[in-house]
C-alpha cells in the first residue's frame, strides 16, 4: 500500500456507499439460478482496491501471454493433427472424455487461427508473494464489465484518488475488445449475442455492446442464408454480421448441429462459421482446453508448443488417473482440495479438511471408482485482502481474474476482476457463491 497515496485512496473508501448506490442505479447485477428460480442480486462492490505494482504486473503479464498463446496452439492442434496426443504428452482419454471437446469442430480453422479471443485466467497470490494459476476460462469468461463500471463510478465519486495516484487507465478494455473482434471479422458488422434479459450476465452483454460499438442481438433477429449470418432489420432488409461475440454456451449455439432443443441458438450458424463467413468469439469447442483435467497439462503444453519454461505456476495438482498421484491423494486427502472436473462456478469443490472421517472414507471410494472425474490440489495459503465490512476493515480471501485478449497480438488488460469471499472461513470466491468484487489498480510505475 506504500506505493499509493493513502489520503486520496481513502477518499474512494469514504465514498463506498455512494458508489454502491450508483452501481445499484446502473443496474450492476448478477443473476443466479437456484432450484429453478431466477434471482437477481447486486454484486457487492468493495471500495478498497487491490493494488498491483508495475513490476508484479509485468511478470504476470508475460506469464499470461505465454499461457494463452500455448492454449491457442493446443486448440488448433486438437482440432487438427493432435500431435500433442501422438507425441505422448497428453493421454488421449483426457481429450475425448472431456465434455468441452466437440467432434463437430474437427477440421475448422477460425480466422487467423485464434480460438480463445477472450481468456479469463484466474490467479491467486500466495502469502509469499508468488502468483499461481487457479484455472483457465476460455469459453465465455464474464466479469470484465464490473471493474470497468466500478472504476468509472469511483472516478466520479473520488476523482483525486486517480489524479494523485499513478494508476493505469483501464477504460481501454472496450477498444481492446473491439480490436480483438475486428481481427476475427469475416466481413460485416460486429454483434454481441445474448440469450436475453434473464441471463446472469445480461448487464455485461449490454454494457460491452454499447462500449464496443457492436449491436446487441438475440437469436430471433438473426438468420443464416447461403451460409452467411444476417441480422434482420426493422425495415425488412438485412445486415451482414462479420463477427459474433456470443454469450451463450457451445451446445446451444446451433440447433442443427448441437442440441436440437435449443431455442436460443441460430440454425446453420456452424455452416456459416465452417465456411469462413463469420467469426465466432470465442471459438466453439474451447472447453477442451479449460477442462479442469487438462489444466494439469498446461505447463507441459507451454514447453511442447513454445519451447519455453512456464513463467506462471499452476497450483500443485494431482491427477488420480495416474497411480502415483492416486496414492498421494489417498494418503493426503484431508489436506487437499478436490475438484469435480465437470463442474464450474465454484460448485463441486470439496476441501478435505471439511470432511468427517466417514465422509473422507466415502469420498476415497468415489475417487477410486471414477479417477478421471477429479483433480486434487494443495490448498494454497493465499494472501488475504482488506475489505470493508460494516465500517470495519477485515481480511478475506480473494482471487484475480485477468483478461487476456488475443487479436493480432496477445494482450493483457491492465486491470481485472478481483473477487473476494465475504465468508471469513471460505476460500471460494465465485460470484455465484455470494462473493463480492473490488477494483484492481495496476500502477504505472
Amino acid at each position: 500500500m506504500k506505493q499509493v497515496n493513502e489520503e486520496y485512496f481513502m477518499q474512494a473508501v469514504g465514498n463506498a456507499d455512494e458508489i454502491n448506490e450508483l452501481l445499484r442505479r446502473y443496474g450492476v447485477k448478477f443473476g443466479i439460478y437456484k432450484n429453478g428460480v431466477f434471482n437477481e442480486q447486486f454484486f457487492p462492490f468493495d471500495p478498497i482496491p487491490r493494488v498491483i505494482s508495475a513490476e508484479d504486473f509485468r511478470a504476470i503479464e508475460k506469464g499470461l501471454v505465454q499461457r494463452v498463446n500455448a492454449l491457442n496452439e493446443f486448440l488448433f492442434d486438437i482440432y487438427h493433427d493432435k500431435k500433442i496426443v501422438s507425441d505422448g504428452i497428453i493421454p488421449e482419454d483426457f481429450i475425448y472424455i472431456s465434455k468441452g471437446y466437440l467432434a463437430e469442430c474437427e477440421g475448422i480453422t477460425p480466422k487467423n487461427k485464434v480460438y480463445s479471443h477472450i481468456s479469463g485466467i484466474d490467479l491467486v497470490q500466495a502469502k509469499d508473494g508468488e502468483w499461481y494459476i487457479l484455472e483457465d476460462n476460455l469459453r465465455i469468461p464474464s466479469g470484465a464489465s464490473y471493474p470497468l463500471i466500478a472504476r468509472e463510478l469511483t472516478r466520479i465519486a473520488a476523482p483525486q484518488a486517480f489524479s494523485e495516484n499513478r494508476i493505469v487507465d483501464n477504460r481501454g478494455y472496450a477498444e481492446l475488445l473491439k480490436e480483438t473482434m475486428e481481427y476475427s471479422n469475416c466481413g460485416g458488422i460486429r454483434a454481441i449475442l445474448t440469450p436475453g434479459r434473464y441471463n446472469a450476465a445480461y448487464f455485461e452483454h449490454s454494457y460491452l455492446a454499447e462500449h464496443t460499438g457492436s449491436v446487441l442481438v438475440q437469436n430471433d433477429e438473426l438468420f443464416v442464408e447461403d451460409n452467411v449470418l444476417y441480422q434482420r432489420t426493422y425495415s425488412g432488409s438485412k445486415t451482414r454480421i462479420g463477427v459474433l461475440y456470443r454469450r451463450i454456451a457451445d451446445e446451444y449455439l446451433d440447433p442443427l448441429t448441437f442440441l436440437p432443443e435449443s431455442l436460443i441458438g441460430i440454425p446453420n450458424l456452424m455452416e456459416a462459421y465452417r465456411s469462413g463467413n463469420v467469426g465466432i468469439v470465442n471459438a466453439p469447442g474451447n472447453g477442451v482446453a479449460d477442462d479442469k483435467g487438462i489444466y494439469y497439462f498446461v505447463p507441459k503444453m507451454i514447453k511442447y508448443y513454445l519451447g519455453e519454461e512456464p513463467i506462471l505456476k499452476n497450483a500443485p495438482t494431482y491427477l488420480p488417473f495416474y497411480d502415483e498421484d492416486m496414492k498421494y491423494v489417498m494418503d493426503n486427502l484431508e489436506k487437499l482440495v478436490i475438484k469435480d472436473v465437470a463442474e464450474a462456478g465454484g460448485y463441486g469443490v470439496v476441501f478435505g479438511s471439511d470432511l468427517t472421517k466417514e465422509k473422507l472414507e466415502e469420498f476415497r471410494k468415489t475417487i477410486i471408482a471414477e479417477p478421471r472425474r477429479f483433480i486434487a490440489q494443495e490448498v494454497i495459503d493465499f494472501l488475504d485482502l482488506p475489505i470493508l465490512d460494516n465500517g470495519e476493515t477485515v481480511m478475506r480471501k480473494a482471487d484475480l481474474r485477468a483478461f487476456v485478449l488475443s487479436g493480432e497480438k496477445t494482450k493483457v488488460w491492465a486491470s481485472g476482476l478481483t473477487r473476494f469471499s465475504r465468508n471469513p472461513d471460505s476460500f471460494v470466491v465465485n460470484s455465484s457463491q455470494g462473493g463480492g468484487f473490488k477494483d484492481t489498480w495496476v500502477l504505472s510505475q
Binding site: Y96, A103, E104, I108, E225, L256, P260, P267, N268, S275
Partner: protein, 256 residues
Amino acid sequence: MKRVDFYYSTKLTFDDYVHDHSFALRIMPPVTDTQKITSCDMNITPYVSVKQTVDAFGNNVTAGYLKGDHRFLDFEIKGTAEVDNSKHRTDYMPCYLYQSRYTQPGETLSAFYNEIKVKCTGTVQDRAEYICAALSDRLSYEQGFTDTSTTAEKAFSLGKGVCQDFSHILITLLRMDGIAARYIAGLAFCDGETHSWVEYWTGDHWEGIDPANNCPVNDDYIVLSQGRDFRDCAIDRGVMFGKHTKQLQLVRSILS
C-alpha cells in the same frame, strides 16, 4: 464392384403454413474409397438457394433457408454409384472409440456386456461378429416402439427396435470392448426407406456390419452419412416457425 442406381426422396408436409425454415440435409452421398459417385442430382421444392459444405465427419451438408410461407418441403436425390467393398476406407477419428450421446450404456447394457464378454475373443472382426450375433439373438426387429430420440440403453431394455436402435446398441457394445465404431446412415437394397448400419475399426481400416440383418455389408449399400451416432448423421434437420402442430414425413428409397 457393383453399379447401383439410387433414388431417395422425402416429402415434408405441414398442417399449416410455416416460415423462416432453416434446414440441413445430409443426403448427397460422399465420394469414398469404397463408393464412387458417377452422377448425382438433387432437387428441392419449393425453390430455395442452398450451399454445400463438408462437416467434421466427412459428410456433405446441404444448408438452406426458406423465408416465406410454405406448407411443404420436398427433396430428392437421384444418381449412380460404383460400390466396391473389396477396397477399404481409412478415415479414422479417435472420437469413435468413446461413447456418445445415444450410446451411453446404462445398467442393462452393462450387464449384457458382462454376460457376453468372456466369449468375446479373437481378432477384432471375430469379436465384432460375435457381439453382433449375440445382439441379434437378444433384440427383435419391431417398428413402432422406438423413435429417433431413443437411446441404445432404452431400446435394449425394451428388447425391440429398428435399424437405428440395432446400430446404436452395437456401437455401445463395440466401444465397451475397446473397438472404435461409427454409425452409418444410408440406403440399402433391403429397405424401402433409409437404413442404418455400423462400421468398426479393425486397426487399419473400417469394416461394415449390418446389425439389423446380422450380416456383413456388401456392395448393396450406399453411404449417405457417418458419425458417432444418429445425431451426427440425421438425413434432415430443420427449424421452422408457424402455427403448425403436425408434420407428415414420407420417405422413399429405391436401389436398382
